[in-house]
Every structure is written in structure tokens, then in C-alpha cells.
């Protein structure tokens, strides 16, 4: 038995349960710049290349609801919606 570990998604469980507010993307407003993906501390935002722009998706199982994505979005396409 050695003190060795391997990478694991959800090592601390489903951290989505931590949040009290949820980021909701207005896909109509989104310009596909990828800035939210760049700043998300937890890699829960995924981007897919769709005709030269990013299509953005959030993994709510793990999103902690920090709100950085909403704060940095240049067109305010993300709103933090209360979950309590």
C-alpha cells in the first residue's frame, strides 16, 4: 500500500450540490467567444467548435455556482439564477 493516487473526476463528489445559484446561458445572446471557458476555475464549462465559434455547455453535476462565468461574459449572456 503506497500513498499514490490517480486523476479522478468528482474526487470530492458531485460538487454541484455546493451551489446556491446556477449559471444559465442565453444561447441566443452568446457570441461563442470562449471567455467563460477560459476563466471557469473547475473546468466545468465545455466548448465545442461550431462554424468558427464556440458552443458552450456547463456540467451542472460539478458546477459550484461561483459566478465567474457570468461576471466575465462580455455580452452578459450568462445569468446566475438562485436555486434556494
Amino acid at each position: 500500500m503506497l500513498p499514490l493516487s490517480r486523476p479522478k473526476i468528482g474526487v470530492q463528489g458531485a460538487t454541484g450540490s455546493w451551489r446556491f445559484r446556477k449559471p444559465e446561458i442565453d444561447q441566443g445572446r452568446c457570441i461563442g467567444c470562449g471567455i467563460c471557458w477560459l476563466y471557469c476555475p473547475d473546468s466545468v464549462i465545455d466548448v465545442e467548435d461550431v462554424s468558427g465559434k464556440f458552443r458552450v455547455r456547463i456540467d451542472y453535476t460539478y458546477c459550484k455556482g461561483c459566478g465567474i462565468c457570468a461576471s466575465v461574459c462580455p455580452v452578459k449572456a450568462i445569468k446566475m439564477v438562485s436555486e434556494v
Binding site: M1, L2, P3, L4, S5, R6, P7
Partner: protein, 392 residues
Amino acid sequence: MVKLTLTGNYCVAHAVKLSRVKVVSAYPITPQTTIVEKISEMVDSGDADIKMIRVESEHSALSAVYGAATAGARAFTATSSHGLLYMHEMVWWAAQARVPLVMAVVTRTIGPPWNIWTDHHDIMGQRDTGWLIAMAETNQEVLDETIKLFKITEDPRVFLPGIIGLDAFILSHTVEPVEVPEQEAVDSFLPERRQPYTIRFGDPLVMGNIPSDLLVNARMRWEVHKALESSAHVIDEVDREWGKITGRYYGGLVECYRCDDADFLFIGVGAWVGDMRLAVDKLRDVGYRFGALKVRYIRPFPGARILELVKGRKGVVVLDRSISAGSAGPIFLDLAAYLQGKRVTVPIKDVVAGLAGFEVNYEDFVKIGEKFAGEVLEVGWVKDYLEFYPSR
């Protein structure tokens, strides 16, 4: 095989070179300094292919060596006294991380006051850490055991770091004639380095994050203990193999001088065992049948081997060159506990002597031996189980 006159410290340096150590990192402290100076000289003259990291402290010395070893290189450091104390947390770290590496400890007392002479407080303070700890009696043994420790520590049944201890000045700075084995002999004896895991570029292996199950962590700690226990076999195996190559077999974990028919035994570690042997001869001349039991490894503690040898004796006197203040000397503590655990009764006394480098030689051992034998013959036991020598 070449015969040279070498100090104990130079023996360490030769052993390090012969063992094809790749990385050495150390910080100077009297009386260890000439080990590293010699290695430096060997490197600069092209005799040894070793990368030296000239760190700014002992804590960094063991850290650098630990890093190199974790990354896959055979690595070595050396220290004494306060230096050993300064790196103490890393001593634990290396053992619990199960990283094989070898360190020389030139045993020196601890201040204040400042004092460069020998006693065993520094090395005994490492007993709990999970390292193998060997203590040499002669410079030849320093050379031989250092090389053997690389093989022992890198054995999959062990995978723990190891210390070779040598007394300050008595061995470190005193010249003795020594047989230095050929590089080819050491190469055929020492295999390529093995270790339980290696941290590599590109492989996301993580060492040391918090355990989710504390029982797992507890078991890891117990496994360090078990690995030390199983190292006993490896120590003996490797010693025998070395004996076949060089003609020098040291007896494995312990060696007993004139023990076969002895009524009384001295038990000790380190250079002064040589004086105990002389005292044995002198005591026998005046009718006391003594033997000298040399403990070669403090960890793993060779309880079983010592038990075989002390069973049925009239009495055994342990010479401790350090004391666990508030209790007793460490060898005595380990042995008395083991004997009690195995339900073996033999009169056993702890004589704490030679602290702070105070010189104790064969004449003192004769006095100690006579007094001890006298008291055992008188009362059938010991009068005081713990004594400081010299008593006023």
C-alpha cells in the same frame, strides 16, 4: 581489490563512488564534512560520475536527495547532530513515501553546549522513522555496509531508506587499513536501482494527497514496520553474499565475540564495541567469562537474534551511548521490552556511558564488567537497572 589507509569518512566516499550513486546533496557539518569534500574531489578529478547539489541547509539536502530518488536516481546524503535534527521531518517523509536512499550519519552529540564529539543521541532520535539504521564498528565495516545498504534498501522486500552510522572522530577521522573492492565486484553485486514507484513526466501519478480512508493510512504505517521486519532476512542474505565476494561476512544483524561459553555479555553498538572485545579478553583473564554482543542494526531491532544469545546467561549489561531522557537508554529499552514480550528473564542492566564524547575505553569496560558481574553474583539480579558511568 586494493588496500588503502582511509578514514571512516573517506570509506563512505569510496562506497558512494563504487555504488554508482548519481546524485549527492549535503550541507557541511563537523564531523561529516570530509565525506562530501572527498566526493567533490572525486567528481572534479573525473573519478566519480556524480551530480552534486550544494544546498544551503540539511533540510534541503535530504529534500534534494529525496527528489532525485523519487525521480529514479540512486542518491545519497550525509550529516550529523544538528544537521540530522534539522532534516528530521524529511527523514520521516522519505520513509513514509517508501523511497529507497542511503544516508551516512556521523554520530555527534547535540547541544547546547556546542560539542563535536560522539554520542548516539542524534542517530537514536531517528529510531521511530521507518529507516533502517546500521552502526559500524570499524572503517572496513563502514565501507562494506554502505555498499550493502544500497542493495538492501532497493530490495522489493524492503523499499525503505537506510542509515549507516559511524562514530565521530573515532571512525570518521581515524585512519585504518581497509580493503577497497574493485568496481567490477561491486557492479556484479549491486543490481540496477529498483524503487516501488517513479514520478515521471507525462504520467499523472500523484504522491501524498490526503487519504479518504484513515485505516488505509494506518495500514501504510504498519506496513513500514513490517517491511523493516522483513528487511532482517534481506540484511542477512546480502551480508552472506558480500561475504562470498570479499571474504567478509559480519554475522548479519548481530555478531557475538567469545559468546559460546559466556556467563555475562556486553551489548553495544558502534566503535566502542572494539574496546568491549578487549575488555572481554581482560575479564576472562581474571576469571569472569564475558562475551561482547555487537548489535549491527538498531533498526530493524534484532530482538530474536539477541534473545537467542542472552537466554540462559547469568547477566547482560547494555552499554547505551545515549539516553531517552526520562526513561532509559534506547538499546536497553528495545531489548528489555522484547525479552519481556517473549517471556525471557535474564538479569539486564543499562549502563549509560560516553555521553557528549566523554571517552570510555576498554579499562572502563573492565571496571563496568567487574562491577556488574560482582553484583549479579551477589544478589542474583541487578541492584540498579539504570546507571550513569562513571558514578561518583
